[in-house]
Symmetry: C2
Subunit: 316 residues, 2 copies
Amino acid sequence: MASHFADRLCKAVKTKNTSLIVGLDPVYSRLPAAIRDHRQMNDEFDAAAAVDAIFDFCTQTMRIVAPMVPAVKINIAFFEKYLWEGLEMYYSLITEADDLGLEIIGDVKRGDIGHTAEVYASAHLENPELAGLEDTLAPDAITVNGYVGTDGIEPFADMAAKQGKGLFVLVRTSNPSAAAIQDFADGDGQRMYEKLAEIIAEVGQKEGRIGENGYSSVGMVVGGTAPAVTTALRKKYDKTWFLVPGYGSQGASAADCVRFCKPDGTGALINASRSIVYAYEKPQYKEQFSDDWKRCIEQAVIDAKVDLANAMQTLI
Amino acid sequence: MASHFADRLCKAVKTKNTSLIVGLDPVYSRLPAAIRDHRQMNDEFDAAAAVDAIFDFCTQTMRIVAPMVPAVKINIAFFEKYLWEGLEMYYSLITEADDLGLEIIGDVKRGDIGHTAEVYASAHLENPELAGLEDTLAPDAITVNGYVGTDGIEPFADMAAKQGKGLFVLVRTSNPSAAAIQDFADGDGQRMYEKLAEIIAEVGQKEGRIGENGYSSVGMVVGGTAPAVTTALRKKYDKTWFLVPGYGSQGASAADCVRFCKPDGTGALINASRSIVYAYEKPQYKEQFSDDWKRCIEQAVIDAKVDLANAMQTLI
């Protein structure tokens, strides 16, 4: 019997002593020169060379961060750019991450109605039992777009519960134009994202979806840039894990993000992507470690963990 | 210079004299016995055999329907079930459909913010220029989820315009629980889906996005089951192509669906998936054509076209 995703998250966050997770959004042209120069063809317009280089970079990056963080978030868009070659790499990275003991979030933003939602849930959360693909793993959790409502979310929640996995449904994103849709308010002042959060929380409370630690396998994605939103959602949804993008490059501070955490540090996964994986582009790390891009990434993780830990101290 | 997607649609709909399009949502267990029995391994749990059989079925189906309909809609979920093997098949089918002169809608429901939206747009709308993948085509249009707002839709609209392609953004779906989100109304009675439609229409009116026939390359997905919704949207958004799911198996009648068409028959693509591609399961066709599954599909397309044409007559 698979363990409960939300319980695994609690354990992983406590073991690594941080809510920080690392997002992989790899872009060939930003890879360290040492990797691009090593590739046989050294050509970003050659699919095989690019895929090789990106795989190498992501694998090495995960080995660096695995001892320090509970999870990685793999953004499938950056792999779909290389079509089926990229998708094969996405699944290879999931296997690598699993071997490293990381929880793996597939940032896939899938969502549809009825039967199609069931098929997406199977495709992205169920470990394939097909001959020829049987050694492949699906991620531990995925992101889901819930604009179609409950019956588009249920198939994902159902499959996740059966597989000991989880999902994070988009609630409030931190991009400039999100407000026009997500803050759309009814006559009583309730906002769209608040309504959607209610629906998601209801789905998450059904039988089999709450783990021993009291958290649901159905989480929410909420950007870290609006402290009032954060505080209200954290207070209202006690059983919810929040996946929080935007820390680092997207402008949310550690103080903003840790508001999603409970005092014991559980309840939120705070994602940093570019600020970690491209740390070697930053003068502060370049000066210190020169061309050693791995040390730059390692130090960026250490610094981010300290930054979040300090913010937690202030909060408590 | 690529032609304008919306103009190509006008031409295709007039040439084939119908708004009907065929959706491919292939499920191995429902394939005709003649195909399943032919496959070497005849085993739905063997990935290679299943992919082979599905590819064969979809190719044959497209050859049957290509002379009769303007476009096919390929639902990527059913291909993602077979991971990278399935994705390679999805792209092979796009090439096949293009050879058959069909417009191709990739039903991918992608959506995200900022840089990730740009990467998705490139991955799904731009014909790859990567060595090793350069013979691959992206579809003529894709479906997009716009819950994140304008800046999540813009990158798709931008890429579509550059490539002579299009997109259809989800506005109002026909599933039972859609209302809780999409009909969420503000103090003045404006509903969420109406607000989103406004945003999409605004994106679609920008420079380079309107074709010679007056239609935008940015369309909307609206289910066919609510006649009042349909009539209001058709009236308000004169420049919009509507992609209408739900005709046939999902309960929208021909009369409901043709309300999206203008009197000349343009303005809507009315999709039927299961009612066409599994026509050989229906007693009415089985009795007439016995095991000849191809004739069943052909007749189902003819019948659907007549049904829609009759409904158009009543409407005008």
